[in-house]
Symmetry: C2
Subunit: 331 residues, 2 copies
DNA sequence: AACTCCTTTGCTACCGGTAGCAAACTCCGA
DNA sequence: TCGGAGTTTGCTACCGGTAGCAAAGGAGTT
């Protein structure tokens, strides 16, 4: 396999120095049209294009952003990744997808990221803890970190997320106006971020409405199955007379599992016997079979904000952005 | 922000040459325990770890694999990406996720990949065509390419995929044995790969069973909505007496949309009035509400095969691997 | 023609590693 | 005590670019 052409080879072919070749490929560089043409022609013939690795080494800019993901069960991740890659690529940045699931050593992955000189690191998942990210080996020179779509538990690491307080206030207002008075909430994996987040605000706003107690259901993962199981356990243990009238699930995927099981195994009509709402607005929830009432995060705004921070077009700080309620038939 | 420490600085601190420092970090290099300890101590103090960018430039090995994805609508992509990143990371390879949707110029993305010297490029999507990938600018030195989970339409580019012929033969056998005789097939986006793939084999095997005609439904995308729409168009135009009795959809996400709509809007019982089967075995299809009969691709085997080819542990060639039928209630 | 001033080109030094040769150092046996 | 083999260390050259200075070239003025 022949090697790729280098600037030096192109220079020889064009009869100029390699620096002139570089200039022909550098926008705004000082070079006459005549030499640029000569160079471009020779480059074309030799199939030359600059080696970005060498450029990165010299400039200390890689144009690569690492995205750490620790939870691939939620299909909502996919459209976000799509949008994120698209937005980053529009700025000339590539996305390095790093899997931080249970099988991997977080600190190790971070050190690796460090060694690769990424321009930035985006944490996009559920369970990044301070003890891993605060590791002292991640010293000076570590790329700037951002937390996407979650609160940040790490001091100094900004979070760009949906305004959970606003979201839950809108949701509870909506449910209250619809007449629901016996709220339930289903959590997924019990991480700190979860506990402090949506459930907290949900309970708070109900309290303000004068509804003091929120029934809590626990799924142990974020998956349809786990949602199904949790609701099955609840409904089979609770006579219909004392059941909640509306169940909010921490995300749509739990909600879909819960809804399907409530209908199918317990004959519940949704929303008449049990209203169900979710969070995220995944595509499938919109399907007529579900008609899931949910809340849409401001995905584009969050991504745009984070990318602007990365390219330096915006001050780096924690930002919460308003999403919007998506009322459908399930509540 | 202070810069990262380099081998030279560690060398000064440890009182050795920078090459000794490098050797301390190179497994199997010739170095005494005494100097290695000295170096590691100094490195620890300065928080040094080797710069992989510089290493890549010198060795011409980046340990980065680009994955081109052009279709983020199918949730099946997510578990595959999870497994792929995990398997690659286990070999010390990182995954660069490149979005090749309609907004991007494929050739441009490939040239960019070329400039970054990826160790390999994996095409994981629906619509990579020969005219883009055969571009002559992707000349010698371009990283080896692989097509994952699809046929390859590109000569010289091996495909690692599920054995579609076997899969469809198993599926048709199963459906035939269950007594179905009026088969339908719903395609997604009409790309070449699709046309030649599952639908083709499906029709073929029915023909062998003596069933000559397969009704074709067309969804224009791979999404639940598109599946819903296609089945809506079909069912409202076709009296129940002349409808198909089993509808195979090109993938699960189409099948779920179709099933939900058939049930909800047309009162069809599944599978009594209309059996529905899909392909991929996505998580949601397993939920009791659906019980979707489907076919599971040998995802792990495919990924493992491709990774072994990348690391040179296996001959590079097109491989098809057997998956297995997942019978549930929907057929 | 001589002198500016500005543009273009070439050059050295550098980014932070790797490869492989040569010198220096051990260690051992004769 | 010395020779020689094997090990360890240092060195030069290189990977393919970038940065920024210095020399060369060209146009305009007097």
């Amino acid at each position: 396999m022949r090697k790729r052409a280098t600037a030096k080879e192109v220079a020889e072919a064009a009869g100029v120095s390699k620096w002139t070749v570089i200039r022909a490929f550098t926008p705004g560089a000082s070079i006459t049209d005549a030499s640029r043409q000569k160079v471009l022609q020779a480059a074309e013939a030799l199939n030359y294009s600059p080696n970005l690795l060498a450029r990165s080494l010299a400039t200390n800019i890689t144009h690569q952003v690492a995205v750490f993901v620790d939870d691939f069960a939620n299909p909502h991740k996919l459209p976000v990744l799509e949008m994120l890659t698209e937005r980053l690529q529009a700025e000339g940045l590539l996305t390095v997808l790093i899997n931080i699931n249970r099988h991997f050593d977080h600190v190790h992955a971070l050190i690796n990221a460090d060694q690769r000189q990424f321009d930035a690191v985006i944490l996009f998942g559920t369970a990044f803890r301070e003890e891993t990210l605060g590791d002292r080996r991640l010293g000076p020179g570590f790329p700037p970190m951002f937390v996407l779509a979650r609160d940040s538990q790490i001091p100094g690491v900004p979070a760009i997320a949906c305004d959970a307080e606003l979201a839950l206030s809108q949701m509870v207002d909506y449910l209250f106006d619809k007449g629901y008075r016996r709220p339930g909430f289903m959590t997924g994996a019990r991480t700190l971020s979860t506990a402090l987040g949506r459930r907290h605000h949900y309970a708070n706003f109900w309290r303000r409405k004068g509804v003091g107690s929120v029934v809590e259901l626990n799924a142990d993962r974020y998956s349809a199955d786990a949602g199904a199981e949790a609701v099955r356990a609840y409904l089979s243990a609770t006579p219909s007379s004392s059941r909640v009238d509306v169940l909010m699930c921490e995300n749509d995927i739990l909600a879909l599992g819960a809804m399907a099981t409530a209908r199918r195994e317990f004959g519940c009509r949704v929303p008449e016997d049990l209203a169900v709402v979710g969070f995220d607005n995944i595509e499938l929830g919109a399907a007529p079979a579900y008609g899931l009432t949910t809340y849409e995060q401001p995905t584009y705004d969050m991504i745009n904000t984070i990318v602007e921070m990365i390219i330096g077009a915006r001050a780096v700080e924690t930002v919460t952005l308003p999403g919007h309620l998506v009322p459908r038939l399930s509540a």
